[in-house]
């Protein structure tokens, strides 16, 4: 087992509290990330569809979606700071070490996110200016989507690497860490969840806009079709979640597994069923969701996500537990040695004279 000692400063709060906060705030962050990524992809889709079918309705839909990206991306970034702070303080040695091991890719997150944000701004605020250059305009948002599709790989690789210190000495940069088991399965699971969450978000957004008379549509059929397409995204996303979720579980590294994960997994599945039934019904009967169905879908899915968040945390804890115990012991030994060294060798004054 690899040996390392921790920083000699105490944790600023009880460990369980920091970890509970990490799980909660990460869920809030990831929901906004999913809405940001999903909205960017679906904005590309609708604008492209509008251009291809020469249908201005889809162009208007794309514009409304584009406006939401500005808000969601700001919330995604700001809500990401909390979990980042918490993971830094709770898993200092593990998180920083894995970050360094894929350092070149890790720091790329910053310029890539800045570039994606500036492109989404240009895309939204220069919408009219690009009226006669529609292909270029779609390309812009497609490029932003591409940014958002690449960035998750950096995060997934880092968090995956952090969980398994025993493989650290086999890593030689980002790409050697990228192909460790279950990163791609988790990536596609993330994309599926993105589709689910964004479909639900757009359902809510356009309902709100119609109620407030902020979105005008040519006829009822177009609107019904729009909501049906949102529901289709949700259903496809949910099937993706089931498929890739299963792959994630079956390819999960044994270090993180134990029997306590089973009730959590059952919790995820149980609360996944009502939204699944609602969305399957809506899609099969080509009907929009009632207010009640929509609310039960959101609440139930949110509880399922909480279970998934706790499950993921439990897996991480299992994987890191032996290393944390060992590190604690090593830290005590190291501090004792420092104390003895002061006594045995004396403390020299290194101040500049």
């Amino acid at each position: 087992m690899p040996q390392f000692h921790d920083l000699p400063l105490p944790l600023p709060a009880p460990e369980f509290l920091l970890k509970a906060m990490l799980v909660i705030f990460f869920i809030l962050h990831i929901i906004f990330v999913e809405m940001m990524v999903g909205a960017t992809i679906l904005c590309t889709y609708f604008e492209w569809k509008g251009l291809k079918e020469k249908n201005t309705f889809f162009d208007k839909v794309a514009f409304e979606i584009a406006k939401s990206i500005t808000v969601n991306k700001s919330m995604a970034v700001v809500l990401g700071v909390g979990p980042l702070l918490l993971i830094n303080v709770t898993y200092t040695i593990f998180f920083y070490s894995s970050s360094v091991l894929i350092g070149n890719a890790w720091i790329l997150v910053i310029p890539m996110a800045i570039s994606a944000f500036l492109i989404t701004y240009l895309h939204q605020y220069a919408w009219d200016w690009f009226e006669n250059y529609k292909k270029l305009h779609v390309t812009l948002i497609a490029v932003a989507s591409l940014h958002f599709l690449i960035i998750p790989f950096f995060f997934l690789t880092n968090t995956n690497l952090m969980w398994f210190p025993t493989v650290w000495d086999q890593i030689h940069g980002f790409f050697s860490a990228l192909f460790y088991p279950n990163i791609f399965a988790r990536y596609f699971f993330f994309l599926s969840t993105t589709l689910t969450v964004t479909g639900i978000f757009l359902n809510w957004l356009f309902n709100k806009k119609i109620k407030n008379d902020e979105f005008h549509y040519p006829n009822k059929d177009s609107l019904d079709n729009l909501f049906l397409s949102f529901n289709r995204f949700v259903l496809v996303g949910m099937f993706g979640q089931m498929l890739f979720g299963s792959v994630v579980i079956f390819t999960a590294q044994k270090e993180g597994l134990d029997k306590n994960l089973i009730p959590l997994l059952i919790g995820v599945a149980i609360f996944f069923i009502p939204p699944m039934i609602n969305m399957a019904n809506a899609n099969l009967n080509k009907k929009t969701l009632s207010d009640f169905q929509f609310k039960t879908t959101v609440v139930s899915l949110f509880i399922s996500i909480i279970f998934a968040g706790v499950l993921r945390h439990h897996f991480r804890e299992n994987a890191l537990l032996p290393h944390q115990v060992n590190m604690k012991k090593n830290t005590e030994i190291y501090l004792e040695k420092i104390k003895n060294a002061k006594k045995n060798y004396g403390v020299k004054d290194y101040k500049y004279e």
């Binding site: 944000f117 420092i338 060294a341 045995n344």
Partner: protein, 468 residues
């Protein structure tokens, strides 16, 4: 030494942080902390004078500030964490342990700030009647306060890095927050932010085409007044800040303002710095004066901000440099070694205790590799190896020894120099290894003279774990 070593052998690790952090400071100070109060002031002026042109001007400036702060500003803020966690994880990790709750509250303020700026920007045109306008101005005021609170909390940490005050004895959170440098640095950053927000607004105005001529002059006059109103406070806060900078750090200022090589240009650079401030003030006065205002054309309106950006970069560089040899004053050296670890490491060796060293034991066969490893752990936070790298060790050696042969005598001299480096250069930390490690480091440095090589970080090479 607690983490694998991230290293950029051309750019240098310090410059990576500097690029990200200075961009963030520019955005946060001039467009958020100073910028939002200025916009709120212009909006209030519109409300008071019933002249919608002020509101139009304020909105146009806000649009630019909004775009930059919520993209470049927000992401470089996160980028500071990313880059510092790569370059000096021990420092940022220790700071987070000490200041966790301050950072947590700051996060709350940041969330509030982002929510408020989204509301402030997105409701500008919707809340257009008299009653709503007043509500909107209040929103601007709350946003200004939230922006400032984020600075209030972060500056405590920056100031603590310069002087930990009585924290070292007590390890108390409040002693860490209320360190001797805190309030003066806060005053300095606040007033500079307010002052240079005017420069940022003038720059935006330089690109605005659709404001009528008479109002354009009124607008920039008002912004120039704003800048000049803050000027005395900038002066007072700067003096206050300078008065609390520890004496030892002040001695580093000549090298900080220039570089080691150009230290003798210190007075000149200092003069140019004051001249820069003087030009900003002169332009503001010229805008105010009806006789001279015509000389300040659109390109000239960009000059105050351009100078301001250079000054901000310079201030940040000076603050970072004078703190040396420490990353956290009297606690952690810039090379990630804790002061209290020195008795152990200088006697028993750093290779033995570094969590991720590739070489544990020095043998006759691995002396160069061991020297490289010691260099990587002890020197790469500031120095590069490549002869085209920034702050390259090869350049430093060449400037000291030129083509002198790298023989046994050279190695003896270097070894002696390494062991006493903290006395030769006040900004250098003491060598954190034992004598044998100093010797292999000297041999590695001699080896570099004949073998021009680059040093790759663990993000490329990978790492080695101690196993038992």
């Amino acid at each position: 030494m607690d983490f694998p070593v991230f290293h950029l052998d051309f750019l240098g690790n310090r410059l990576l942080i500097a690029i990200i952090a200075i961009t963030h400071v520019i955005m946060s100070h001039t467009m958020a902390v100073g910028g939002i109060p200025l916009i709120t002031f212009l909006e209030w002026k519109s409300y008071k004078t019933k002249d919608p042109r002020w509101s139009k001007l304020a909105y146009k400036i806000l649009f630019v500030f909004f775009l930059f702060t919520t993209s470049l500003g927000a992401m470089t803020g996160v980028g500071i964490w990313f880059s510092t966690s790569l370059v000096n994880p021990t420092a940022i990790g220790s700071l987070i342990r000490v200041f966790f709750w301050a950072w947590f509250v700051e996060w709350g303020a940041f969330v509030t700030e982002v929510v408020l700026i989204l509301c402030y920007y997105l409701t500008w045109k919707k809340w257009d009647n008299d009653k709503d306008k007043l509500k909107h101005i209040k929103l601007g005021l709350y946003l200004s306060i939230a922006s400032w609170i984020t600075m209030v909390l972060i500056v405590a940490i920056l100031a603590y890095m310069m002087d930990v005050g009585s924290w070292k004895g007590t390890h108390s959170f409040w002693h860490a927050v209320f360190n001797p440098v805190y309030l003066p640095q806060l005053a300095f950053r606040t007033t500079w932010g307010m002052f240079l927000a005017g420069g940022a607004a003038l720059t935006v105005m330089a690109f605005l085409k659709d404001l009528d001529g008479e109002f354009y002059k009124m607008g920039r006059k008002s912004i120039a007044k704003w800048m000049l109103c803050w000027l005395p406070f900038v002066f007072l806060a700067s003096c206050w800040y300078w008065s609390v900078v520890p004496i030892l750090m002040r001695e580093n200022v000549p090298a900080a303002l220039t570089t080691q090589v150009f230290q003798h240009w210190y007075q000149g650079v200092l003069t140019y710095t004051f001249l820069g401030v003087g030009i900003i003030v002169l332009i503001a006065f010229m805008i105010l004066n009806p006789k001279t205002t015509k000389y300040i054309n659109r390109p000239a309106m960009i000059i105050p901000y351009a100078i301001g950006l250079v000054l901000i970069g310079q201030f940040e560089r000076v603050r970072e440099f004078i703190r040396k040899p420490y990353a956290i004053a009297n606690y952690l050296y810039a090379n990630t070694i804790r002061e209290e670890d020195l008795p152990l490491l200088t006697n028993e060796g750093i290779l033995k205790y570094a969590n991720f060293a590739r070489v544990r034991k020095i043998t006759n066969e691995n002396r160069i590799e061991a020297g490289r490893e010691v260099f990587k752990i002890a020197c790469t936070r500031c120095h590069t190896v490549s002869n085209i790298g920034i702050n390259s060790i090869q350049d430093r050696l060449y400037s000291m020894f030129q083509d002198q042969p790298r023989d046994g005598e050279f190695k003896d001299n270097i070894e002696h120099y390494i062991l006493n480096i903290h006395q030769a250069r006040p900004y250098m930390p003491p060598f954190p290894g034992n004598k044998e490690e100093a010797r292999v480091l000297a041999e590695y440095l001699a080896h570099l003279h004949k073998n021009r090589e680059e040093l790759l970080g663990d993000q490329v090479l990978g790492t080695k774990l101690i196993d038992n």
